[in-house]
């Protein structure tokens, strides 16, 4: 970034996103509360709050985890990704309310510190049927807190995108802990198989989508041409790239987005400086490469963000021989101008 931070950089899209998110959450809560009151007419308000916040948090967690692979399968899901961080923070707040109500209801009546009580009230670690599942939920909540607390771009910049991304990949550990928390809790307190079915269904969907998109990515990486000439590697034909779009290629350790625009070709790093989003899945808008995740922009010929922003991408030398596009996989320093390669006979 190159401008002062704001708490939230509101725009029309984010407001629309949050409105739809709020409506969805209200719907989930309403359906769940109605179902609980029908199935358990004598349910107390505390138990209802504990269950409803847990259900909403888990539902949001599942949605968060499937947004990424869905976007890779179909770009029509990209709007869901745009403001995923608000979804994440909202999910944490529901999990926090759930955790606080559980601690108040189950751990404040004795003379032990309530948080210590979470770890001490049940120490049957040897018995799977009596395992203290609360601890798993507590640890998941700590991870979610860390992620929510670092969701602002201030942290992305100051922890560096790589560390920030690594930190936020802990969502999978949190998910595993949540699955353990719910599965063991259900085992101890619920005789109906409904919760097991829902948990297993959610796991199958998340794991299935992640594995499927992962395998597709591996296949794509393997399909990259390795035909070399001088220092250049042939990556595709000019016509293989749609106008204002890119082809993503991986040569050695370099993940490169080769863009076609105005009858010419430029190549930059495929990783957005914001959250390492796949730039090659974006398109050229107003003369700039535009990240499909959050709209960060870069000039294709030098990888620099338009002023006042100062993010820079690595750039790569390119040329066109006949109809073939060739890329030198040795990156130039971020922000280096590279003359775009033009198709012979192109007027642009």
């Amino acid at each position: 970034m190159g401008v002062s931070y704001q708490a939230i950089l509101w725009n029309k899209s984010k407001k629309r996103y949050d409105l739809w998110m709020s409506l969805f959450i209200i719907l989930v809560l309403a359906v769940f509360v109605l179902a609980q009151m029908t199935l358990h007419p004598s349910i107390t308000i505390e138990t209802l709050i504990i269950r409803a916040t847990a259900f909403t948090a888990i539902t949001l967690l599942h949605i968060i985890l499937i947004i990424g692979p869905l976007c890779r399968l179909d770009s029509r899901f990209l709007p869901l990704l745009y403001n995923r961080r608000h979804l994440g923070v909202t999910m944490f707040l529901f999990a926090l309310v759930h955790g606080l109500f559980c601690i108040i209801q189950f751990h404040t009546l004795g003379d032990t510190n309530p948080i210590a009580s979470v770890f001490l009230s049940n120490q049957n670690y040897q018995e799977i049927s009596e395992f203290p599942f609360q601890i798993l939920g507590f640890l998941a909540l700590v991870i979610l807190l860390l992620m929510a607390a670092t969701s602002h771009d201030f942290w992305l910049k100051n922890l560096t995108p790589r560390i920030w991304k690594g930190l936020h990949m802990a969502v999978y550990i949190a998910y595993a802990l949540v699955v353990g928390h719910v599965a063991l809790g259900t085992l101890q307190y619920e005789s109906k198989p409904l919760y097991w079915v829902m948990l297993l269904g959610g796991f199958v969907v998340i794991a299935g989508l992640q594995i499927f998109t992962g395998l597709r990515e591996v296949k794509r990486l393997r399909s990259t041409s390795e035909k070399t000439k001088d220092k250049f590697v042939k990556v595709c034909n000019f016509d293989d790239i749609e106008d204002s779009r890119a082809k993503i290629v991986t040569i050695g350790s370099e993940n490169i987005a080769v863009f076609r625009y105005d009858g010419q070709i430029s190549a930059v790093s495929n990783l957005c400086r914001h959250q390492l989003g796949p730039l090659g899945e974006g398109k050229i808008v107003d003369g700039c490469i535009t990240c499909p995740w959050h709209g960060y922009q870069y000039f294709p010929h030098n990888g620099q963000s338009p002023p006042p922003f100062n993010e820079k991408l690595k750039t790569y030398e390119v040329n066109i021989r006949g109809n073939d596009v060739w890329v030198d996989p040795k990156p130039k320093p971020p922000g280096t101008f590279i003359q775009p390669a033009k198709l012979e006979g192109s007027a642009s």
Partner: protein, 71 residues
């Protein structure tokens, strides 16, 4: 077990207290050394990063120390 849990909780509380003090110091001076883009940022921004600063203060202390000589 009880002793170990209590020690861990006291250590966590002490760690977070240091984080809180660091955050308050940063509000007065230091934040703009760590990240110049915080200059002119509104109070709401300073509040929204508070939990992160209190939890991850060692990362920012390191950044502050390495940047200080050039300021």
């Amino acid at each position: 077990m009880e002793g170990l849990v209590n020690i861990c909780l006291w250590l966590a509380a002490a760690y977070l207290l240091v984080g809180l003090i660091f955050y308050l110091v940063c509000l007065v001076r230091g934040m703009q050394t760590i990240d110049p883009d915080t200059v002119g940022a509104p109070v709401s921004f300073r509040l929204i990063i508070a939990p992160g600063v209190i939890i991850l203060w060692p990362a920012l202390v390191g950044k502050w120390r390495t940047k200080k000589p050039s300021e």
